[in-house]
């Protein structure tokens, strides 16, 4: 399976390069070729062969059910396997996710690939190792206790040795996954805990890595979706009044594909498809009016909500009475988008009795279920294959694009490639929901927090994708369960010891607002923006340095660890926040914050600069510390921390989905600006290694801390508390003027 271009390059000279799609097959990368025949998935998780295969040449393939999203987990999980198998990394490879090949480990969510996937891969590898040792013991005629393994070679005390590959000779192990094989004690780790370089980077910088956007299949059409530019309220969807098909008559081979309100165009040539999508005249029904950005938070706050007590202990209201200092404030956070750098893309080949869909989902099995439902096929007749796209940071349009491609392929009766345009991705994303937080907290005369109350308003994530909503007239629905959609006890009350606590979640009806989804560290930036500023305010009122105040109130060792690490990295000197405000045009400040998403611990310090005349705020240096238990590859976590700090700066200073009465108006990088090189902070990352603790996520856990640190730094610089982010020049100038 070669790209035709290789031949052309060899041949050189002037050549006609036409479409010869029979040669332009699936792209390949270091993940291919797949080393076993496909089955209707998922393969049986209770068999060790599902997880790994030992080959005759003494190499091994590890079948991993997590997506490589640029965080390095495809390398890190191999480290875990290499460690237990006692094989060098160079002998191991992995394959791409595929419902017919790889096990179902659940989606790549919540930064959990190492947390959930590590133990499974580790146990399977240990089980295989034990079986291999038993085989070796027979073969070498030596007791198992005396065998040693080095890089896949088993040696006995009698001088004889045999390789794993010789023992199996490419045959499956045929042993059950019992979970009972002994694991290597962490004190003997040689590969886990070290900074092995990422295996995907060389191809990525050379232009050899095959991203989803590069994949082509024979005989395919290029398709595009046609929707209003910018989504309307989720409940309103988009209703077609009329389509003027003659508007694209001049475009060669272009045609309209339609199922109810779902509209697409197809053409053989990609540019023709792009053209047709732009040119097709569709009249859409006028949707019910939205309040626009200015009225949004008040309208959410005033809506009829479903309320839930998230956590209650002691009596917060009573404890406020007579406390030394009480702080009571309201904070607001915007809708923000995933905005993957390359918009989502999918290929679908739907036949009457089966379907193949190739896309960049975080969860091949979850995506398969949705596609089967939409196509009316049994789940095991649908195969979903993963190709990495650009970073997704949560539930961007990957399901929408995959479902849309499947619908369009079914309509066209041919394989199709659907590339979302920038305005499709920006305009129809599942945004991280906006938030209103009201907080009251009190401290005693000794600087100890005595009471804390938080009320939070936001809507849930949306369950039905736009493709399904428009094509099948499916009613919009809210995502059930998932605590991460609402006020989280992980932040509020989880970090500091608070004897009297009351957390209330107010779920706003989602149909009146935009589609929601989990966006890296869901809701946490908004929660920390409110909570960590309040903690700082309590510190200031108590006349105590912000770092010292947190130390006094911290709930456990591990939180203390990241707090100390961040403070130390930044060379923190004790001083009460806002006690050193200069009168100059450009003022500087520093702030500290703590936060998490689910299981890990994040601490951060931000040093910022505020221009009082222009309202421009920039982070000069950010420090982030994460304790994610056993750090399988600390170097990857360092890179992740750097990315999180920069992305947090972007989200705190710039990012805000805008909309008018009709719908979303953030449709490109001008109308939804993100941080650029010239505004980028220096970053310092600290990984707090805990070899004896279970691994937990590290892909999002320092963002909340960093958001709090930035907000606190702003106060330190100006003496003014920001109640709403992003801290755009306009908002900052308004706040500074009071």
């Amino acid at each position: 399976m070669n790209f035709p271009r290789r031949e052309f390059l060899k041949a050189g000279g002037a050549l006609i390069v036409g479409f010869n799609l029979s040669e332009a097959l699936f792209g390949q990368s270091h993940l291919d070729p797949v080393s076993r025949p496909p089955v209707p998935g998922p393969p049986d998780a209770k068999m060790v062969d599902t997880w790994l295969a030992i080959h005759a040449d003494n190499t091994a393939t590890i079948f991993i059910g997590f997506a490589e999203l640029g965080q390095g987990n495809s390398t890190a999980l191999l480290q875990v396997a290499a460690e237990e198998l006692d094989m060098d990394m160079s002998r191991l490879k992995t394959v791409r996710l595929d419902t017919s090949i790889t096990p179902n480990q659940g989606g790549t969510y919540s930064s959990a690939s190492i947390q959930r996937g590590g133990p499974q891969v580790r146990t399977a590898a240990a089980e295989a190792r034990l079986a291999l040792l038993q085989m070796a013991s027979k073969k070498l005629d030596a007791p198992i206790e005396g065998l040693t393994v080095s890089n896949g070679v088993v040696s006995a005390g009698n001088g004889k040795s045999v390789t794993y590959g010789e023992l199996t000779g490419d045959r499956p192990l045929h042993i059950p996954f019992t979970g009972k094989a002994p694991l290597k004690p962490f004190t003997q780790y040689k590969v886990v805990g070290t900074g092995v370089p990422r295996n995907d980077i060389p191809d990525k910088v050379a232009g050899k890595y095959v991203y989803m956007q590069h994949v082509r299949v024979p005989d395919m059409l290029h398709v595009r979706v046609v929707r209003p530019r910018g989504q309307r309220a989720y409940g309103a969807g988009a209703k077609v009044v009329s389509i003027d098909e003659s508007s694209i008559r001049g475009i060669p081979g272009a045609r309209v594909l339609r199922r109810n309100d779902f509209i697409g165009v197809a053409a053989e040539n990609e540019w023709d498809a792009v053209h047709a999508a732009r040119q097709l005249k569709v009249t859409w029904e006028t949707p019910p009016a939205l309040p626009g950005n200015r009225g949004m938070h008040d309208a959410m706050r005033a809506s009829k909500t479903t309320d839930r007590v998230v956590l209650e202990k002691g009596n917060a209201a009573a404890a406020m009475v007579g406390a030394a200092h009480v702080v009571s404030q309201s904070y607001r956070g915007p809708y923000q988008m995933h905005g993957p750098f390359g918009p989502n893309c999918a290929i679908a080949d739907v036949k009457p009795d089966s379907a193949l869909v190739i896309c960049s989902t975080q969860d091949v099995y979850g995506t398969r279920t949705g596609i089967a439902r939409i196509l009316g096929l049994a789940v095991d007749k649908v195969r979903v294959q993963y190709y990495e796209g650009s970073g997704t940071y949560g539930h961007s349009c990957y399901d929408d694009v995959a479902q849309s491609a499947a619908i369009l392929s079914q309509l066209a009766g041919k394989p199709v490639r659907l590339q979302f345009m920038r305005w499709d991705e920006h305009g129809w994303d599942n945004y991280g929901p906006a938030h209103v937080g009201e907080i009251r907290a009190a401290v005693d005369a000794a600087g100890r927090i005595v009471a804390y109350e938080y009320d939070g308003w936001q809507h849930n994530w949306s369950l039905v994708e736009t493709a399904e909503q428009l094509a099948l007239n499916r009613a919009p629905a809210a995502w059930p369960g998932a605590a991460a959609q609402g006020v989280s006890a992980n932040h509020l009350g989880g970090i500091y010891y608070v004897p009297n606590l009351r957390l209330i979640n107010h779920q706003v009806p989602g149909g009146d607002w935009f589609k929601g989804g989990w966006l890296r560290s869901p809701l946490d930036l908004s929660l920390a923006f409110a909570s960590e500023q309040t903690i700082d305010e309590l510190a200031r009122l108590s006349g105590i340095d912000s770092y010292e105040f947190r130390r006094r109130n911290i709930v456990n060792e591990r939180w203390l660890g990241v707090l100390d690490a961040a403070a130390k990295a930044s060379n923190w000197k004790p001083r009460v926040a806002g006690s050193n405000i200069s009168k100059s045009r450009i003022v500087t400040g520093r702030g500290i914050g703590l936060g998490t998403h689910l299981a890990s611990y994040g601490g951060a310090v931000a040093e910022i600069e505020v221009n009082r005349e222009t309202g421009q705020v920039v982070a000069k240096h950010m420090y982030g510390a994460i304790d994610a238990g056993l750090a399988v590859n600390p170097a990857f976590i360092e890179n992740q921390i750097g990315g999180q700090l920069v992305q947090t700066a972007s989200r705190m200073f710039k990012e805000e989905v805008t909309f008018n009465e009709t719908g979303v108006t953030s449709l490109d990088w001008n109308s939804y600006p993100i941080l650029r090189f010239d505004e980028c902070p220096e970053v310092t990352a600290v990984v707090v290694q805990r070899l004896d603790q279970r691994s937990s996520g590290a892909g999002e856990e320092v963002m909340a801390a960093a958001a709090g640190a930035i907000a606190n730094a702003f106060f330190d610089a100006t003496g003014v508390r920001m109640r709403e982010y992003p801290l755009t020049p306009k908002r900052v100038l308004a706040a500074l003027r009071g």
Partner: protein, 169 residues
């Protein structure tokens, strides 16, 4: 209407059938099957599709294919050879020093933006072999990275600059 157009990409001539207004990006991706330049916005806002046209960084997503007739287009894939020719090296290295530096710094996350990062940084270092940090930031500011890898890109450019001027990396 599709017509035959001859373009020069990575030092080879290609005859392609495309309407004159087709953006160069679609020709490079669909007809030449190159994987360096890639779709990001189609609006000249992000740098995902960058190529060098006569050595100048250019957004191929908004450049009509007809506009590069008679010019020399270099993509990510052709950078090592382009570099070797400029430096008069007898052997073309496997990677441009900027590519190598991106590996050495383990700068990449998803890596989708690295086509543009590497193309732009190569242009910068060809014009200004020893840029200051401020010059790097200014030169690169038209290139977005959603994963937030800017700090490591800056380090990698510094490293490549050293390597190219013969200093230890």
């Amino acid at each position: 209407m599709a017509a035959e157009i001859t373009i020069k990409v990575n030092e080879r001539s290609w005859k392609v059938a495309a309407s004159a207004d087709t953006p160069l990006l679609y020709v490079l991706a669909n007809e030449l099957h190159l994987q360096g330049p890639r779709f990001g916005c189609g609006l000249a806002q992000c740098g995902s599709c960058s190529v060098l046209v006569n050595g100048v960084e250019t957004r191929s997503c908004v450049t009509p294919v007809a506009a590069v007739r008679g010019k020399s287009v270099t993509t990510l894939e052709g950078l090592p050879a382009w570099y070797a020719a400029r430096q008069k090296l007898s052997v073309t290295p496997a990677l441009h020093p900027v590519q190598q530096a991106m590996i050495d710094e383990q700068a990449v996350q998803c890596g989708y933006c690295y086509n543009g990062m590497i193309v732009k940084a190569s242009e910068l270092l060809a014009k200004n072999p020893r840029p200051t940090d401020a010059e790097i930031r200014t030169a690169m500011k038209g290139h977005l990275c959603r994963c937030g890898t800017y700090p490591r890109v800056i380090k990698a450019i510094r490293r490549a600059s050293k390597a190219m001027s013969g200093g230890a990396a």
